[in-house]
């Protein structure tokens, strides 16, 4: 041992590949942090990873723990760059992915166009055999048609096959036998069966999930293999983990089998980071907000736990039904409001912000790359919230003329000044984000006053205080390194797997043993899977959730339940359900309660980072002051704000707003009356009322 542990997170995005490296000295506990950025290199993404390691001066040989996040799956889906998939279903149900659920979200639009299925009808085939909802065999599986199906699929150039049968969540044996026979007939084809991804009911959602997983499987597998070969080729001998949508990391082998679980790994690592940060600073209830260039995403963390759900859809919005992916994904709300969101005036003189974004090209008008439309970033610049002489950390010279022209153009349509337009843009953008934050908090029965707002991403810190004031949160925290916070979150992640299983059980005598049996069976499966990766049972921690509802309802409420469930504990579980339900929905019923399924979280620590708190510095905050400038706080007027250099802030420093903190990646806007403190980890705590 070198006396050091080196942990690295790499994150492959559409434009850049990011690196964060923590080198922890065992003796002192001191961590040296390196960050680097290089271009993403499609289609040889591993090259970008190797480049960024080199750029950051990190020798792959020295890395103990390497976490990796990637947008490869979501990109393959949204750009339709997967492979040709064949689908095999239960007789009578091959059209399931085309029929979908029949909904028309854009319901007044007579020209609504239904999303096209990922597998055309001629590649959707049926086999005989049928299970009941209890998992009992009604008709035996009939695979006599399989050789002909395989022959047709081969002739048609199919590269991956998805299998999805009715009620396979209750008994996967028909799917398992079909997979085995497929592998025998056609060993080289990529295959996936729906039960391997989820054990929950709803045939359209489960089938579509299997189809999309098959669609990206060869691409993702190739990507992961090349990544592994690339880093091991440079001498990496540590552990390689892949970021997942459920806020955990998983092993490369496991992810290669079901790559669809990576689909929302980007936001997941940030939200996990917010949960871990909350634990570090003693704030277990966190509203997490990630503002990027195009969108803002938010999620609620209660008592240190992120909420993981399987109700995830891509491309679903007010004008499209989208496609479901039934995998564990952190519960988040995303809206089309980011720094690059374009402000526009409709035919009725109403000002709107987003969801169209100026993106990186041409970007906000102030980038001077030919953008003529005012964005949220332009408004922030115009109001002095962003430093026009330190734009993008000093990398870009702000084209204030272009910003002025863009704002004035909107002002003419509205009959008002550029100043008022800029204030209007910021207020509307804030209002959009407040509504999103309410969706994850107030709308689910949580009082924002019990929560700390943790804001990150490029634009989080700019708007966080205004949002926090509007919501009335306890305080606002901007993490140290807010712009690379997602990568930090990845390094704080556990090896985590979420298991969802549908099973109906009335909460009455005898149910205790049934429920305990279901949990025990699922936990045994988890231990087996962890064991296969040399992680012993003693390392694995479980959290057990029951999904309950009043009899006849559909939607369930998740309740944390303990171990060793027996009939004696049912009353306690039922009481916990009533309480959770009433908090969320304002009333409770006398109706019987039933279990609809379980959710087991299995996690094991795999060498995550331990943070070391630094002592308070004796240096006064005035040492970090860069100067002052006029900042327009919209509703709170124009003030002379003190400007702080974020790179010079040290633990223990404290000051009050109006102020702005600038560092190369982030601008923190502090409103008048706010009180700011820097903690021992370098995080910025903003108390809304002084």
């Amino acid at each position: 041992m070198s006396g050091k542990t080196i942990r690295v997170a790499t994150d492959v995005g559409g434009t850049f590949t990011d690196l964060v490296c923590f080198e922890t000295d065992h003796a002192t506990g001191e961590a040296r942090i390196v960050t680097a950025k290089s271009d993403t290199t499609p289609p040889n993404f591993e090259q970008g990873v190797l480049n960024v390691l080199e750029k950051g001066g990190v020798d792959p040989k020295s890395i103990d723990f390497l976490a990796h996040g990637t947008t490869v799956v979501i990109n393959a889906l949204t750009e339709r760059k997967g492979v040709k998939v064949g689908l095999i279903t239960t007789e009578g149900f091959r059209d399931s992915i085309e029929i979908a659920r029949g909904n028309r979200p854009d319901f007044f639009n007579l020209h609504y166009v239904k999303p096209e299925p990922f597998v055309p009808r001629y590649l959707r085939r049926e086999v005989g055999g049928r299970l009941s909802y209890k998992g009992e065999e009604m008709r035996p599986l009939d695979l006599s048609a399989l050789p002909a199906i395989v022959a047709d699929f081969k002739a048609d150039g199919v590269q991956a096959v998805a299998v999805s049968f009715l009620h396979s969540y209750a008994d996967p044996s028909h799917e398992e036998r079909t997979l085995a026979e497929l592998k025998r007939l056609w060993p080289e084809v990529a295959t996936v069966a729906s039960h391997q991804i989820t054990r929950e009911w709803r045939e359209y959602e489960r089938t579509n999930t299997a189809v999309l997983s098959a669609y990206v499987q060869p691409t993702a597998e190739r990507y992961l293999t090349r990544l592994k070969d690339g880093v091991t080729g440079k001498g990496f001998a540590g552990s390689l983990y892949i970021m997942q949508s459920n806020c955990g990391v998983d092993t490369l082998d496991s992810v290669s089998k079901i790559p669809i679980t990576m689909v929302e790994s980007g936001p997941a690592s940030g939200f996990w980071g917010a949960a871990e940060l909350g634990k570090l600073i003693g704030e277990k209830n966190v509203l997490a907000l990630d503002i990027g260039g195009t969108t803002a995403k938010c999620s609620l963390i209660e008592n240190g736990q992120v909420k993981i759900m399987t109700d995830y859809w891509i491309e679903r919005n007010q004008t499209s039904a989208g496609y479901p992916i039934m995998v564990p994904v952190v519960d988040l709300v995303e809206i089309g409001n980011g720094g690059g969101s374009i402000a526009w005036v409709d035919n009725f003189s109403k000002l709107h912000v987003g969801p169209q974004s100026a993106g990186a090209m041409p970007g906000p008008a102030a980038y001077g790359r030919g953008g003529t439309k005012a964005t949220t970033t332009d408004a922030n610049l115009w109001l002095g919230r962003i430093n026009r002489d330190y734009f993008c950390g000093g990398d870009v010279i702000a084209d204030m003329k272009a910003t002025e022209t863009a704002l004035t153009e909107l002002g003419e349509k509205l009959g008002t000044s550029a100043d008022d337009v800029a204030r209007g843009i910021v207020r509307i953008a804030n209002n959009n984000m407040v509504n999103a934050l309410k969706l994850v908090s107030l709308n689910r029965g949580h009082d924002p006053r019990d929560f700390t707002l943790v804001a990150f991403g490029g634009g989080g810190a700019m708007h966080a205080v205004a949002l926090g004031q509007e919501l009335g949160v306890k305080k606002v925290v901007i993490p140290a390194g807010a712009s690379v916070f997602s990568a930090w979150g990845m390094m704080m992640s556990d090896l985590r797997r979420d298991y969802f299983v549908t099973k109906l059980a009335d909460l009455k005598t005898g149910a205790g043993a049934v429920i305990e049996g279901l949990f025990a069976e699922t936990e045994a499966l988890a231990l087996k899977q962890f064991g296969a990766e040399s992680i012993g049972a003693d390392k694995v921690k479980f959290l057990r959730y029951g999904k309950f509802r009043y009899q006849n309802q559909e939607h369930t409420t998740e309740v944390l339940v303990g171990s060793d469930i027996s009939d004696a504990k049912l009353a306690e579980i039922e009481a916990a359900f009533h309480e959770t339900y009433e908090r969320e929905y304002t009333y409770r019923l006398k109706a019987p309660v039933e279990l609809v399924g379980i959710h087991v979280v299995a996690s094991a620590e795999v060498g995550k980072l331990t943070m070391q708190e630094k002592p308070k510095s004796a240096t006064p905050a005035s040492a970090a002051v860069k100067g002052t400038r006029k900042v327009d706080y919209a509703l709170e007027g124009i003030h002379d704000a003190t400007i702080y250099d974020g790179t010079k802030l040290e633990p223990g420093m404290a000051f009050s707003g109006p102020a702005v903190i600038e560092d190369p990646g982030t601008t923190v806007v502090i409103h008048p009356g706010n009180r700011v403190e820097i903690d021992g980890f370098g995080n910025i705590h903003i108390h809304i009322k002084a």
Binding site: D95, N103, F108, H111, N347, L504
Partner: protein
């Protein structure tokens, strides 16, 4: 802040919050409802109304419920007009179309007045289809009802909660009149929770911005709705357009639509007398159906509120089936409504081809199946609208298997859930490839859905239109195909239905639902041969019909 603000950004922020509140009410109700018709089919709507009952904002799963709540609240405001009649914490209910209920007795409208500083500033309200409200048949709809009395319990715009306390007896009356008392209780509480959450949010808004500003924002929002509609009217062809269309039962329906810069007038006075059966709609409901197609034509993507509908005028004659008189039965009002909607659409389609596709399967195809669950022994009732084919448009084929024009963000029930919940087996749910809808651009396909009954003495009730007269086509395309159900007995006999109630079905009988293809657009001979070959490869079309209808040899 107490002064009135006319700052447009503040008004806009309040308006956004009204929309967010209507959506939140919708989400709350959906999540807590007991009946799948509410939480899955989303046969429900929520709304925020001003103190007089004008619609300010709506959250809805289906367009057919957007314009209902204002009519209900206006009746409440008129009926409870004395001091002390309406107080903070009160909750009202109505379900009777002759007392502001608009639709039929199954739809319970729940409304709550919102007070700030002691002043009535708004109402929150919702409507949802309840599984059973009594009456002569299970599920309360019966094809042979002749009076509304046979269709369930009538709640003629009454108070059910006074100052936060349920009025003794009201819940008891409602529950004892239902065959599914637990469901109606659960669904009603979901509705109450929803109006309460909405009221709480509105009070917060009014407190924060001031009552006067809040009220200004609501008024301004409705004026905005009106401006959007007027602008759209200016862009539509002006004139009077007329259409007479034969119905499945041989009657003829007539509509005259007159469009000018400022008005869109729908004249339905020349139509048959009201029906002796339940195939009637009240005036208010006919107005709602008219509003749905009006909104689709004028501004499908802007918010719908009271102002949006100001330019719309409806003329009806009392005593006709579009303006039924008490005590006419109205159980199947929704099939009357969709006929009005489709008639106006068809009437205008030739005059605005870029705005209007060919006819769709155009029936709610409401299907009610019930009995005793063979595994749990509990009563179950399926209440489902069906999905079907939509018409082609110039330049594209129609959608397959989506809900009708008066349904919207409605979800069908997964077979896996239906089998568990209802104790029957779904043998198949697939696209129906029967002929129909051929054209240069083809109509979308309907479905073939087989329910296999698992226990004797179950029942089927249904009421479909477009069961004889097929969906209409445009410019030489072929008509679509019909909606109907087959009851296929285990002895091999089979019977076709469009309307019927309490049809007995037994173990191993199969109820097959067929919904129609949408109408085609253009001569099939002009269809791109490559697309015809794709259709054959995908099994949507036989090689034989490719040759005879499209002239393409495979």
């Amino acid at each position: 802040m107490t002064e009135v603000s006319h700052d447009p950004i503040t008004l806009e922020i309040i308006q956004n919050s009204l929309q967010a509140t209507a959506d939140e009410m919708f989400a709350a109700m959906r999540k807590t409802a007991m009946s799948s018709i509410i939480y899955e089919v989303l046969d429900m709507g929520t709304g925020i109304l001003d103190a007089e009952g004008e619609l300010a904002s709506s959250g809805a799963g289906i367009p057919g419920f957007i314009g209902v709540l204002d009519k209900s609240v206006k009746v409440l405001v008129k009926k409870f007009d004395k001091p002390g009649d309406i107080e903070p914490g009160d909750v009202f209910i109505t379900n009777d179309p002759y007392y502001g209920g608009v639709t039929h007795l199954n739809d319970l409208v729940v409304a709550m007045p919102v007070f700030a500083d002691g002043k009535l500033i708004a109402w929150t309200a919702n409507i949802a289809h309840n599984s059973d409200v009594g009456g002569k048949s299970p599920g309360s709809l019966s094809a042979d009802a002749t009076e509304i009395f046979q269709e369930g319990l009538r709640l003629p715009a009454i108070k059910m909660i006074s100052k936060g306390e349920p009025i003794p007896g009201i819940f008891d009356i409602i529950m004892v009149n239902s065959r599914m008392p637990d469901f109606i209780e659960g669904d009603l509480w979901a509705a109450i929770a929803s109006v309460r959450i909405g009221a709480k949010r509105l009070v917060e808004l009014a407190t924060k911005y001031g009552i006067a500003t809040f009220e200004t924002a609501m008024r301004d929002f409705m004026n905005f709705g009106e401006q959007v509609s007027l602008k759209a009217l200016a862009d539509l062809p002006h004139g009077t357009f007329e259409m007479t269309e034969e119905q499945d039962d041989g009657r003829f329906f007539n509509v005259k639509v007159t469009i000018s810069d400022t008005e869109f007038t729908v004249d339905l006075r020349d139509n048959p007398d009201q029906d002796n059966g339940p195939f009637n709609a009240g005036h208010d409901d006919t107005l709602v159906s008219t509003q749905v197609i009006f909104k689709a034509l004028t501004s499908p993507h802007s918010p719908a509120n009271g102002g949006s509908f100001r330019p719309l005028k409806l003329l009806t004659k009392e005593g006709t089936l579009f303006h039924a008189k008490e005590p006419a039965a109205v159980g199947f009002y929704y099939e009357v409504g969709i006929r009005v909607y489709d008639l106006i659409w068809r009437c205008l389609a030739p005059h605005m081809p870029e705005k209007l596709p060919a006819g769709h399967f155009a029936s709610i195809a409401g299907t009610f199946i019930g009995g005793i669950h063979p595994d749990t022994g509990r009563q179950y009732t399926i209440i489902e609208p069906q999905i079907g084919g939509w018409g082609a448009a110039f330049g594209r084929d129609g959608n397959s298997a989506i809900f009708s024009g008066v349904h919207g963000e409605t979800y069908n029930c997964p077979a896996e859930i239906s089998e568990a919940r209802n104790g029957l087996t779904i043998d198949r749910l697939e696209l129906c490839t029967d002929p129909g809808g051929e054209g240069e651009f083809t109509g979308g396909r309907g479905i073939r859905l087989d329910y296999r009954i698992r226990r004797d003495n179950s029942f089927l009730t249904l009421g479909y239109t477009r069961s004889r007269i097929a969906p209409w086509s445009i410019a030489g395309g072929h008509e679509g195909s019909q909606n109907y159900a087959l009851v296929m007995r285990k002895d091999g006999t089979s019977e076709r239905f469009a309307f019927g109630s309490g049809i007995r079905v037994d173990k191993d009988d199969v109820i097959r639902i067929i919904t129609g293809a949408g109408g085609g657009v253009g001569d099939p001979k002009k269809r791109d041969p490559e697309k015809v070959r794709d259709d054959v490869r995908n099994g949507y079309l036989t090689a034989e019909r490719a040759a005879t209808v499209y002239g393409v040899t495979i």
